[in-house]
């Protein structure tokens, strides 16, 4: 099979079947992890991804259709197009089109959060700009079904870190438009950022023994 893309976790192969453009996403073994962690993680994420792909489509978020799940591999429909990340990297962009895409990316996340799905890696690398400027969301391996405000706020945090501020504000407008609980999650995002990373009072150390 022909490899068409390579992510950090998985290889994507072309796998057309019965006239449907399909891709196979296979989570490869990671040599750095012990087997007990690696095997469990790969199959668990594959199952989660297949299940959530189903829910995403049902709540109106364009995403690949899962066709077959086996061990650490999912065969799913090919959504075509290129990632939003590579679209944004282009210097000669129509800013109106970008604003529209960022809003659409936001409203997709709003719909997922409304359905209590936290994506877990919601960055432009996992959003595909499909033909006719339709946006599809992919890569649900780190997702979870959860009511947690914190998990939803982390989705916002990851996106915020990946795009510049103006684009993020378009994104938030889209997010608010499709999700009534948006403000609560946005408030949590600000709280997470305020928490800072250096909050530990009695700092302990991990240098080797003297």
């Amino acid at each position: 099979m022909r490899v068409i893309a390579e992510g950090a976790e998985a290889r994507i192969y072309a796998a057309d079947i019965l006239g449907i453009h399909a891709v196979a996403k296979r989570r490869e073994r990671k040599s750095y992890r012990i087997n007990q962690i690696d095997t469990g993680l790969r199959s668990q994420r594959t199952r989660v991804e297949a299940r959530i792909l189903g829910i995403a489509a049902a709540v109106g978020v364009d995403s690949p259709r899962p066709l077959l799940v086996h061990d650490c591999e999912i065969v799913m429909s090919d959504v075509g197009g290129t990632t939003l990340r590579s679209v944004l990297a282009d210097n000669e962009l129509d800013e109106n089109a970008v604003a529209r895409m960022m809003r659409a990316a936001g409203s997709n996340l709003g719909r997922l959060h409304h359905a209590n799905i936290a994506h877990g890696d919601y960055t432009p690398a996992n959003i595909v700009v499909a033909p006719r400027a339709r946006l599809a969301v992919i890569d649900f391996g780190l997702s979870e079904v959860t009511q947690s405000i914190e998990a939803k706020a982390i989705d916002l945090l990851l996106m915020k870190r990946s795009v510049d501020p103006l684009r993020f504000s378009d994104f938030l407008n889209g997010y608010r438009s499709s999700f009534r609980g948006a403000d609560k999650v946005i408030r949590r995002l600000l709280a997470i950022e305020r928490r800072g990373r250096y909050k530990t009072r009695t700092l302990l150390v991990t240098d080797d023994a003297p």
């Binding site: 950090a8 750095y32 469990g40 700092l203 302990l204 240098d207």
Partner: protein, 323 residues
Amino acid sequence: MPVLGIESSAHTFGVGVVDNGKIIANEKSMYSIGTGGMVPGAVAEFHASNARSTISSALASSGASIKELEAVGYTRGPGLGPCLRVGLLAASTLAARLGVPLIPVNHGVAHIEVAKHVCRMRDPLALYVSGGNSQIVALSSSRPRRYTVYGETLDIGVGNMLDVFARSARLEPAWGSSVAKVARGGSYVEMPYTVKGMDFAFAGLLTKATSLLGGHSTKDVAYSLQETAFSMLCEATERAMLLTGRRELLTCGGVAQSSRLREMLGSMAASHHARFGVADNALNADNGAMIALVAEKIMRSGSGYGRTGINQRDRPDSVIVTW
């Protein structure tokens, strides 16, 4: 002419001397934490009473005379306020007496820069892992250049997590190396694994591991905790490698002394045909040489030293890299 650097952000009072990128002295006094944590006031007192002797022994082993010093660098942060203040006080007194510039240095940037320097890397992705910090960073290509944080811990630093676990398990001394020692030959017990893109979280893992301590052997719990934590770090770093397209990977900071973490990162880097590097343990532990090294770079770049003072939460991405 040589530059002297003082590190005092946590338990170590370190003094290093660098001359033209060459480390010619690296001395330290270390506050011993035993099985407890550390009380900032007590550590600061320890630093204050060891400052003079550590500076003298660094100068003596460097072979340089105090009058030759061209500048004095010190750690601005992040770290414990009382400890940082002792370093600043010692450095500013020395600089004023010699009439040379006083140069503040970010602790995390110093860890990264010294590793980059000794590994002879040009533009690596860095996994900086210490007690309070766990970050994946690389220099931005846009100007002004800064270290961009691609991923980091969403709660506690990996080092802190290992230390707290070590205390709960009554390991002595209560830090990461003891966890590594007891973990040898353990078998895996299931642990929560939390990665969000290039970020990760350790609090849930710590809670679970601590709660298993009664029912399972310390060996098995320590082993599973360590394997899980390092796998998480490796996975997040791998995602950042692909995103940034870097061909060099380094790890630095106290936890970078772990041979298991090095082995895992090395294997991950090799699978992407990237070069992996790590500095000697003496440079991964807190030390003055890295502060001297960056102070010298800042001085040679000739573009100002930044505001003198301390900042307990000084972030690496707030530093403009002028060198």
